[in-house]
């Protein structure tokens, strides 16, 4: 690993891979950094023995004049030895970005054997920087959501995809996310059982959102096919129910649900209890904006794009010169948009460098596809969105900040005392000051503030983050 690269890409998900593929072959030194053990991001998640290399998209993908479906994207990927010019470091974390695009990167001991076991922090210079840090899941808190056995939908998927291990013999699935059906099918494929899918969304809400899919026939079709396959497998499917409590002593043993009315309020007397050792639950996604925020990139708030996202121009350059952003961090829309934006950002960087792009890149076509993917973003994010009444209804005893163990009651108290901006509420409660640095509770706190105070996103304020954006042991800074 060198100390300076022409282009540094943070994240090797669909966006980062598409960008690296497009940048390769132009004589540039490219560094891809990812904290996961393998390339692929959230969608590929390879078991480490399968490949130690990188991925390449079929170069014809995105040239066809047709929408790129997620299935096509995944199918067209093929494992490769790293193309010339691309260095890929894994289990490495970018902790901060400073002036002149100097990066602070935590790398594992495997790169520098004989270390303390804590890794080391290096400074790396980038000519251009592409942020492709992806998204994480959101979860509406309920009593007992901190119990071992309660996990995100993605966590259950990852157990199977990366390690070949089921979350439990029987898994209960809940929330508002389209990952519910994806997960259920994956569990069945792996000979596990699904106790039930408890979807918070009523059928009427889903039907009402269908017009947003008018340019995404293939996605709508895929969704319908998934439902059909679950029906055939006789998976119990309930709509308009929410998990209200997870019970158990040192781990989950039962889940309590309540029925919801059309507005999303729980209906008294509709409680039901399910035995469960694993509950996978999720309420959509939020962009991983910590690093761009630390770097000084401006944000926009757009509920249809999943909340706070990185502001970019048509070339996908952020408000910080020479820093580009692609994929979920500019708006949650799934793999199709990440693929298109990864390519577009790479093209913009190549143009700045005076390089000509190859014949397999058609910019107007990519721009058209990017715009089209935004329709899917609206569908996805509206589908996942929880009504504000759900935040108002959270019991006082429910923990909101899992790290600092701050309850909803404490948050209500401080809001009523006048701490009504994201920043002041964080200081008053310590909510978001723990190990995860607010990655789980900050989006929640924002939604709670919106629900309880009725303020605009700008009044509540965008989140702020300082370096190091992920915590690393102090020893990793102390090397010669």
């Amino acid at each position: 690993m060198k100390r300076a690269y022409d282009v540094v890409i943070v994240g090797s998900g669909v966006a980062g891979i598409a960008a690296a593929n497009t940048l390769a072959g132009h004589g540039l030194e490219i560094l891809v950094i990812d904290e996961n053990p393998h390339a692929g991001g959230q969608i590929l998640r390879q078991n480490c023995r399968v490949t130690d290399g990188f991925w390449e998209f079929d170069p014809r993908l995105g040239r066809s004049g047709r929408t790129v479906s997620i299935r096509k994207i995944v199918q067209s990927l093929r494992p490769i030895q790293r193309p010339k010019g691309i260095t890929c470091v894994h289990q490495a974390r970018v902790l901060g970005i400073f002036s002149d695009l100097q990066l602070l990167v935590h790398v594992p001991d495997t790169l520098y054997p004989g270390g303390s076991g804590s890794g080391r922090v290096l400074e790396i210079d980038a000519g251009y920087l592409l942020l492709a840090t992806g998204a994480r899941e959101r979860c509406l808190p309920f009593k007992g959501w901190t119990l071992p056995g309660v996990m995100s939908l993605g966590a259950a998927q990852i157990l199977m995809k990366s390690s070949g291990i089921l979350p439990a013999r029987k898994t209960l699935i809940a929330g508002t996310s389209p990952l519910q059906t994806v997960l259920a099918l994956e569990i069945l494929k792996n000979k596990g059982n699904v106790t039930a899918i408890l979807d918070e969304n009523h059928l009427t809400k889903k039907l009402g959102l269908l017009p947003l899919l008018k340019h995404h026939g293939s996605l709508a079709g895929e969704g319908a096919m998934q439902m059909l396959r679950l029906l055939i497998r006789q998976v119990r499917f309930r709509q308009g129910v929410r998990v209200t409590e997870a019970r158990g002593k040192n781990g989950l043993s039962a889940v309590v649900t309540a029925g919801l009315d059309r507005k999303g309020n729980t209906v008294p007397g509709t409680f039901q209890t399910y035995p469960a050792r694993a509950l996978a639950v999720g309420h959509g996604f939020t962009a991983n904006i910590e690093l761009p925020v630390q770097a000084g990139c401006a944000l926009d708030y757009d509920a249809d794009r999943g909340g706070w996202v990185v502001r970019v121009d048509d070339a996908l350059e952020t408000s910080v010169a020479e820093v580009y952003a692609a994929g979920e961090i500019t708006g949650i829309a799934g793999a199709g948009k990440s693929f298109v934006e990864g390519k577009l950002a790479a093209v913009s960087i190549l143009e700045k460098l005076g390089e000509k792009t190859g014949p397999d890149v058609c910019v107007p076509e990519l721009v058209r596809m990017q715009k089209q993917q935004m329709g899917y973003a609206s569908f996805l994010n509206q589908l996942c969105q929880v009504p504000s009444s759900a935040y108002e209804a959270i019991d006082d005893e429910v923990l909101i900040c899992r790290c600092e163990e701050i309850s909803m009651g404490e948050i209500r108290k401080q809001i009523s005392q006048g701490f009504v901006t994201g920043g002041s509420l964080k200081k008053a409660t310590r909510c978001g000051m723990g190990r995860c640095q607010g990655r789980i509770c900050q989006p929640l706190l924002f939604d709670i503030l919106q629900a309880l105070t009725g303020q605009t996103p700008e009044q509540i304020g965008s989140p702020s983050f300082r370096a190091p954006v992920k915590n690393v042991p102090l020893e990793s800074f102390l090397h010669p």
Binding site: N36, Q42, L147, S162, G164, I165, R169, G192, P473
Partner: protein, 96 residues
């Protein structure tokens, strides 16, 4: 419903060679390539640490390096994220 989950390993999954971890001093079978959090779950261990204030158990939540709930001590180094660490033969893991 039983108290533990046995056989969470998916039969058709492509597995590496068998390895042994030491979890709180007890030998525990795993396979090369598995992450620590998954190997522990397959061994029936859901509670990975105790939260300081409330004293509650915590386990896997995000599974992708975001939430820091699955912190364990690995080979004497505290606060390692089990979900971001690949299990290796002879690894010493302490929960709580």
């Amino acid at each position: 419903m039983g108290n533990t989950d046995t056989d969470l390993r998916i039969a058709c999954a492509n597995r590496g060679p068998k390895i042994t971890l030491q979890v709180d001093g007890v030998p525990c079978v795993a396979y090369e390539g598995e992450t620590v959090h998954a190997a522990l779950l397959a061994a029936g261990i859901r509670a990975l640490r105790i939260a300081g204030k409330t004293g509650e158990s915590r386990g896997i939540f995000c599974g992708m390096g975001i939430c820091y709930e699955c912190r364990v001590t690995i080979n004497g180094v505290p606060d390692k994220q089990a979900c971001m660490t690949i299990a290796t033969d002879g690894m010493q893991i302490e929960t709580r």
